[in-house]
Amino acid sequence: MAAEPSPAGNTGLTRQARTRLGHTVLHAALLVGTFFMVMPFLWMLSTSLKMPKEIFRYPPLWIPTEFAWSNYRDTLTALPFDRFYLNSAIVSVSSTLIQVLAAALAAFAFARLRFKGRNPLFLLYLATLMIPFQVTMIPNFILISRVLDWYNTYQALIFPTSFSAFSVFLLRQFFAGLPMELDEAARMDGASTLRIWWQVILPLSGPALAALSIFSFLGSWNSFLWPLVVTASNEMRTIPVGLSAFQGEHNTAWNLLMAGSVIALVPVLAVYMVGQNWFQRGITLSGMGGR
């Protein structure tokens, strides 16, 4: 939409004027979009501060006449949000650590070591990339509840989702792009393979590791179906599942439900605001690296 010397039918506007006009139109369009993106957040916040009588009224109020901060207190007493947060943090951090560590080791083996069966094994990983999680969900549920006896535990929340072929694939592609001479030089200096991995390859892979970490963390933090299936009590529920259970109990107490949603979102959005470039780069890099 930048200005250009176009041959016919143009008004006498100068190039700059047309650029300015173009930008005004752009801003107008972007602001409409912005409203659509932001409105749900504002509506959530507004409802979370309303007294019950102001929720069900027409025309709706954007700013409550009286801020009902007690909604937050009521929500926090009705639901152990501190516990949900703790659970989400434990699960997401452990799952991300396991995911990145195991994948970095495996990707190193696939990209830079030679051993029998390397290529067939890598193909096996690749072959599962397209298999949706729901296929493995049922057997994993049976494994967790009947074989390992992990139902409603942290292990159940953490392990089954920590070994994706995707993360191995992503890091392997990255490691394979680093020059082989690095390993050889380190070996000549007497470095062990583990040291090459830790002190040569990993330090050079910062962006890929960061991207994968953010991607896994966000995925784990917001994951819903698996935690829904393997948890049974508030002691083990993560934030999304806890919020969903709350919905089942208070399905018309919109002020409390919205307060719960705000509580669930504020820390994540705060972290996002601070590190938005990291988030977007992480998602882009993982997104583009895959498939």
């Binding site: 939409m1 041959p7 930008h23 752009l26 972007l30 979009g33 912005t34 659509f36 993106m37 409105m39 749900p40 509506w43 959530m44 409802t47 069900f56 027409y58 709706p60 396991i98 195991a102 994948a103 495996a106 083996a109 696939f110 070591l113 051993f115 094994l121 599962t128 397209m130 298999i131 949706p132 296929v135 493995t136 049922i138 057997p139 994993n140 049976i142 494994l143 392990f159 089954p160 920590s162 070994f163 000549m188 393979t193 991995w197 933090w221 819903f224 179906l225 919020l243 919905q247 919205m258 719960g260 949603s261 669930a264 979102l265 994540v268 996002y272 977007q280 882009t284 997104g287 498939r291």
Partner: protein, 317 residues
């Protein structure tokens, strides 16, 4: 370098690495492979076996051969409903998502003010927990007190046109568009950042050359931008399609698969079979059928891509 290794001394450490790597390779692979086998590979095969059984987990399972598959395709109207709904979501969500993401990315690829803020806001729903998003949209779509209904009533009052607000979440005809709107809000930021990365990789010289030739901005979009980002479009199409096939969270929180099963997707049906009807064999059958569909569609897209995806190098990506 090889000449200074005397036969009496053992070869220096760095030259032994090939032999060492046999065992080291497996050691490095071990943690990942163990988890991968236990939680991915074995379950995939187990799901296939399970799909041939009828099993409630309470009594011993019973081998039924292909009965689950036959029942699914011959006498399970809910399955066809779920299949239809999933296809509906795929054909609506994927094009809308791509078009909206591209439009925003094109706008943000200009040198305008406030770029960073726009990017921040459009991406915000991507990091938002879908349960919270679905809850607030459920409230927005509320027939009596939702903000959308209020807007329509307002129009009604001001213009006198007797428009009735749709009963979004309890009318089967409106529940599916409501889910589409929610997913659009949630994911447009994702397609936007991927498209932006694609747009920024297009060499500026191409545009400069086109401008010298007097190409209008519309023609530049049509003949430079769209072909140059077609690999990105292809990638997003595949990803979004796989995502649409797996739609669950939105339908579970906002509509519970209803009304009248209007938002029951295939994954929702997997969930219901396993965790409500306790038909774990049937649930695995549905999951495998889902996989077959994803595989077929991805394969198809891959075959068709040479018709419209433009790669700069001959070997693709």
């Amino acid at each position: 370098m090889a000449s200074d290794a005397s036969p009496l001394r053992p070869p220096p450490r760095w030259r032994r690495w090939r032999a060492d790597q046999q065992s080291e390779g497996y050691l490095f692979l071990l943690p990942s492979l163990a988890g991968f086998l236990l939680f991915v590979l074995i379950p995939v095969v187990a799901a296939l076996v399970l799909s041939l059984y009828e099993w409630s987990l309470l009594s011993p399972g019973e081998y039924v051969g292909l009965t689950n598959y036959l029942n699914l395709f011959r006498r399970d109207p809910t399955f066809f409903k779920a299949l239809g709904n999933t296809l509906y979501f795929t054909v609506t969500i994927v094009p809308l998502q791509l078009a909206a993401g591209l439009a925003v990315a094109l706008a943000l690829n200009q040198a305008i003010k406030g770029l960073a803020i726009y990017r921040l806001i459009y991406f915000m729903p991507v990091v938002t927990t879908i349960v919270a998003g679905a809850l607030v949209f459920q409230w927005i779509f509320n027939k009596d007190f939702g903000i959308l209904s209020a807007v329509i009533w307002r129009i009604n009052e001001l213009t006198g046109i007797p428009v009735q607000p749709p009963d979004w979440l309890t009318d089967p005809a409106w529940a599916r568009p409501a889910v589409v709107i929610l997913t659009l809000w949630k994911n447009v930021g994702f397609t936007m950042v991927i498209y932006l990365a694609g747009l920024q990789a297009i060499p500026v010289e191409l545009y400069d050359a086109a401008e010298v030739d007097g190409a209008t901005s519309w023609r530049r979009l049509l003949y430079i931008t769209l072909p140059m980002i077609s690999p990105t479009t292809f990638f997003l199409m595949v990803i979004q399609m796989i995502g649409a096939f797996q739609l669950f969270d939105e339908a579970f929180v906002m509509t519970r698969g209803g009304p009248a099963q209007a938002t029951t997707t295939i994954v929702y049906y997997v969930y219901v079979n396993a965790f409500e009807y306790r038909r774990f064999g049937m649930a695995s059958t549905v999951a495998w059928v889902l996989f077959a569909f994803i595989f077929a569609f991805t394969f198809l897209q891959n075959r068709l891509q040479h018709r419209w995806v433009h790669y700069e190098t001959d070997d693709g990506r």
